[in-house]
């Protein structure tokens, strides 16, 4: 865990910093390979910026709408810099809507754009795991394995490291696929990435110590990942049939 990096008088919030670097490197990588999916690199950076900004505003807006009375009592809180006044689902929804609007206005092809963004998503996934390691989020279940790490009062699975390694492996597969696959069928890079990520989540969630559980003990994230995996396998099949 390294939540704060102290450089002289500067106290840097490591987890956020790692995420920012991840987005930056991911975007750079995605732009470099964008021509393979016949997407203009500038569209990727514009779309990312618009999505992030809309998500930021939307997250706060949804939060204000969820708790109107608190903000009526203190209107200045609407502009508070506190990241705690934030609704993540509202942010995701607003960000997605903004990305879709941008895509349809610029007449981008859905599958090609997703393919072009995929290396970026793969990098961001690694950054998210590294960021979680720095903050102690997404921690593992208690265990006695020799490679356990001391975190939150006990020895735990280094779940963040498992997830970072899986994300790294997936990045390599995505890059190889994007570069060497003779099959230019659009959407395939993204679908393979999503299927692999869902499989990794399905497998690795078992070692997490913070899973959201159903009353019978099933882990919600695993069920969600299973459904996404099933959808990906079906879509891959359909996309393949489409060219034959």
């Amino acid at each position: 865990m390294l939540p704060i990096l102290q450089i002289g008088p500067l106290a840097l919030q490591t987890p956020g910093l790692i995420l920012l670097v991840g987005i930056w490197v991911g975007l750079w990588l995605a732009e470099r390979g964008a021509h393979r999916s016949e997407v203009a690199p500038s569209h990727l950076s514009n779309m990312t910026l618009i999505t992030l900004l809309s998500g930021l505003v939307g997250g706060r807006l949804f939060y204000v709408l969820l708790y109107p009375s608190a903000f009526a009592a203190s209107p200045r809180s609407v502009f508070s810099l506190s990241p705690s006044l934030f609704d993540p689902w509202g942010a995701i929804l607003t960000g997605l809507v903004a990305a879709l609007l941008y895509g349809s206005r610029k007449k981008l092809l859905l599958w090609s754009t997703l393919d072009a963004l995929t290396p970026g998503l793969a990098i961001v996934a690694i950054a998210v795991s590294a960021s979680n390691l720095a903050s102690g989020n997404a921690f593992g279940a208690p265990t006695q394995v020799p490679w356990a790490i001391e975190l939150w009062g006990t020895q735990r699975h280094p779940s963040q490291v498992y997830e970072a390694l899986a994300a790294l492996g997936i990045l390599v597969i995505v890059l190889l696929r994007q570069r060497y696959s003779g099959n230019r069928l659009s959407g395939m890079v993204f679908l393979v990435y999503l299927a692999l990520s869902a499989s990794a989540r399905l497998f690795l969630e078992a070692f997490r110590g913070d899973s959201l559980l159903l009353p019978n003990g099933w882990r919600v994230a695993q069920l969600t990942a299973w459904l996404i995996l099933a959808a990906c396998l079906w879509l891959i099949q359909r996309r393949r049939q489409a060219i034959n």
């Binding site: 704060i4 708790y67 203190s74 508070s80 506190s82 006044l85 009062g153 078992a206 899973s211 695993q222």
Partner: protein, 185 residues
Amino acid sequence: MSSSSLRWSLFSLLILLIGAGWIWVSAAPNGDATSGRIPAPRQGFQAPDFSLPTLSGETVTLSDLRGQPVLINLWATWCPPCRSEMPDLQATYEAYQDLGFVILAINATYQDSPASLETFVDEYGLTFPILMDKSGDTARLYQMRALPTSFFIDREGIIQEVVVGGPMSPALLQVRVENLLQEAP
């Protein structure tokens, strides 16, 4: 159906069956709250227990306050965001103390001047207990890395949220405290 698409269907089916089997095998034991009841200064965990002297000489023990929502605020007089959130903390305390809400303002006395404390409390008109962490043990227990840091603790003694840095906005205080109070005693 061509032979390659048949192969793909069989492959998909196999993968999904293995996935379903893994979900079954790796389900958490019945009734297990996965984050557990281990004391740790983190959301979802039991708030680590402490006993500290107040400015007026009594001793406050966190576990004695089980059944009441508690806001722990780690602060120091020399820290500007700590100072600027004090009036909002006081207002929140006044609004909700009758409903059982408690604020424990733990002063990082080991890096503050004890002499300035009383003047500070008078100046800001603070009526909630001011606890003195003279050794820094409680700051270590709560892995304090920045001032102020606040912990919102529910009636069961479980940390519901950690807010690092400040000042906290009045809306944040109101929403969090009302959520804590909504849980049945």
